[in-house]
């Protein structure tokens, strides 16, 4: 009894002093991450900017050159070409898979699942999603082997069906290599938008489709006027994550082509790696990495602000 009686006054006393302490004690929970972030992300990020203002081989002492590396970048053809290849990868990893994923998700969700049962739709979805769970290093080994010029599975298959004249050195031909890489990336990526969109479709009100059915709307009309607008948030999420992932591409290029042949598939991430560890031009590599970061932050900011605008227009 006495305990319950004395408890409220104790609360009342501690409250005024408790307020300022409240903010303090919650921030305590951020301290471990704050330490980690300063050490692993903030300090290295600032150091990288510092490196980019020097000429340095990584061993001796860095020599201050100001913005020289950045002005050199402007007239570096390889650097510009690498961004061109990045745009191609944005198509292969974000835009094309997004469009295929949309159509596939709609087809599986409101066509196959309704006519052939949700299990059929789930199995088909799992097949398309499977490449997504592979480490890219492994997917790359699989494809480099399939696309090998001499005895690769693709060329052997072409020969077997009498199309031997279509055989190519898929990853070794300067004109073809980028398109081949794009094709592999589409294979890797389409599972991701598919799964996200199918999940999103589950929260769409089925009465919208029923009303459209009564009006006799065609499948394409329903797709454009119900499916796409209803899952717009998911479309933005996929577009953002896949675009950023495409711009960051490194392992795909490293495993499939090493940037070759003749720089035909070099991307900025790989180009900076080459400067850091192969050409030991640390300052120049750091400058490429810094510009790459600026581009990613800018793309992220643009996509997020467009998303917010679109969501604002809906309300």
């Amino acid at each position: 009894m006495t305990q319950t009686l004395s408890a409220p006054p104790a609360e009342a006393v501690s409250k005024p002093t408790g307020r300022p302490r409240r903010g303090l004690s919650y921030s305590v929970y951020l301290i471990p991450s704050a330490v980690l972030f300063v050490a692993v992300i903030l300090v290295p990020f600032v150091m990288n900017i510092g490196f980019s203002l020097t000429k340095w081989d990584g061993i001796g002492s860095p020599e201050w050159v100001g913005l020289d590396n950045y002005t050199k970048l402007l007239s570096d053809g390889t650097f510009w070409a690498s961004f061109g290849h990045n745009v191609a990868l944005v198509f292969a990893m974000a835009i094309i898979p997004l469009m295929i994923g949309l159509v596939l998700a709609a087809a599986l969700f409101d066509f196959i699942a309704k006519r052939f049962g949700p299990r059929t739709a789930a199995v088909l979805r799992a097949c398309v999603y499977l490449p997504q769970v592979l480490p890219f290093a492994v997917a790359g080994i699989v494809w480099a082997w399939i696309l090998a010029p001499d005895n690769g599975a693709l060329n052997s298959a072409l020969k077997a069906v009498g199309l031997a004249s279509l055989r190519e050195d898929w990853l070794g031909d300067q004109k073809l290599a980028l398109y081949t890489v794009m094709g592999v990336m589409i294979w890797v990526q389409i599972g991701f938008p598919l799964v996200v969109f199918m999940a999103g479709l589950q929260r769409v009100d089925p009465s919208l489709y029923e009303a459209a059915d009564i009006d006799g709307a065609s499948w394409w009309r329903k797709f454009w006027h119900i499916t796409v607008p209803q899952i717009r948030p998911e479309i933005y999420v996929v577009l953002l994550t896949c675009t950023v992932a495409a711009i960051k591409s490194f392992d795909k290029i490293f495993i499939l082509t090493k940037g070759g042949p003749g720089g035909a598939t070099t991307v900025p991430a790989y180009y900076s790696y080459q400067n850091f560890f192969e050409k030991t031009q640390v300052g120049y590599g750091a400058a490429i990495a810094t510009v790459l970061t600026l581009i990613i932050v800018a793309v992220t900011a643009v996509l997020i602000s467009r998303q917010n605008k679109a969501e604002g227009a809906d309300r």
Binding site: S25, L30, A39, P44, A126, V128, P135, W187, F254
Partner: protein, 293 residues
């Protein structure tokens, strides 16, 4: 009798069932989707076939034939040559530690930001988001330089520390928005019972958010497992390498013949498919969580 009436009952309850008839068009859509699924799986099938072929079988029948027998020597040779068991252990240690540590740190951060709503939480969240978008290339050389200075270069610990930070950035961002919708009444009730802040976190917030934390764990584990760039730079000695690094580096050296390459690819595929089967439910649910936020 009952089954007949039940069958009749279905169309009665769903008057528009006729809309969902299996028309020839519907079959055409199903067939084309099935063809797509087969095309998606074809590379896996070809790799599996060739992993079980003897080199003689491969050289006389090419890459497309079905293996004449179950030849396991190629897989065994590759396993022993790269000490694959050790690579699996390295990958498990690194991915498991990162997933556990990053979930713990994400919870601590999200507790302060989502539930504590401390001052400046929006700018802190933006910082975490930025940390999550930064490409690894911008961190790699300074980290390489610093880890050599403190003697962590070429240790599994260095990769665990780095990826704990990178995954925590995403986890904090996601979990903060999840926890900011945490029911206030439950928190108030716990406080009324005299629970301190840490007790509320440990006894109330963590148990109730367990499904989301499970999803984060799976994501962090698989993402870390699949990482290639930083592990390749940091883990140069054989005994520290992860599965993707060991396979990727070997592939780059072009020393393997066709059957051994497919054996290596198959060994790389198997763990990923095992995780996929174990985590499938959690994963699809998790992607939904991520998409809505």
């Amino acid at each position: 009798m009952t089954s007949i009436s039940a069958k009749r009952g279905v169309p009665a309850r769903r008057p528009r069932a006729t809309v969902h008839r299996r028309t020839p068009g519907a079959w055409a859509v199903l067939v084309s989707l099935a063809v797509l699924a087969v095309v998606m799986l074809l590379p896996f099938v070809i790799i599996t076939f060739n992993a079980f072929k003897s080199p003689a079988d491969y050289s006389s029948h090419g890459p497309l034939s079905v293996p004449k027998g179950l030849y396991l020597q190629g897989i065994k040779d590759f396993w022993e040559r790269v000490d694959f068991g050790a690579k699996l252990v390295n990958s498990l240690i690194i991915s498991g530690s990162v997933a556990i540590l990053a979930v713990i740190l994400s919870v601590l951060n999200a507790y302060a930001l989502g539930i504590g709503r401390i001052k400046g939480r929006v700018s802190i969240l933006v910082l975490f988001l930025l940390a999550n978008t930064v490409p690894q290339e911008v961190l790699v050389y300074p980290l390489y330089f610093l880890s050599k200075k403190v003697g962590l270069y070429d240790t599994r610990l260095s990769i665990i520390i780095i990826f704990t930070a990178i995954q925590t950035a995403f986890g904090t961002y996601l979990l903060s928005s999840v926890l900011s919708a945490f029911p206030r009444e439950i928190l108030e009730a716990a406080r009324m019972d005299g629970a301190g802040r840490f007790r509320v976190l440990w006894r109330v917030v963590v148990p109730i958010s367990r499904p989301t934390l499970g999803v984060l764990f799976v994501f962090f584990f698989i993402w870390t497992w699949n990482e290639f760039f930083l592990p390749m730079i940091f883990l140069i000695s054989n005994e520290n390498q992860t599965v993707p690094v060991a396979l990727g580096v070997l592939q780059g050296q072009k020393l393997m013949d066709a059957t051994m390459t497919s054996a290596s690819a198959l060994l790389g595929i198997i763990p990923a498919v095992v995780f996929f089967l174990i985590f499938q439910r959690t994963l699809t649910r998790g992607i939904t969580v991520g998409a809505v936020k």
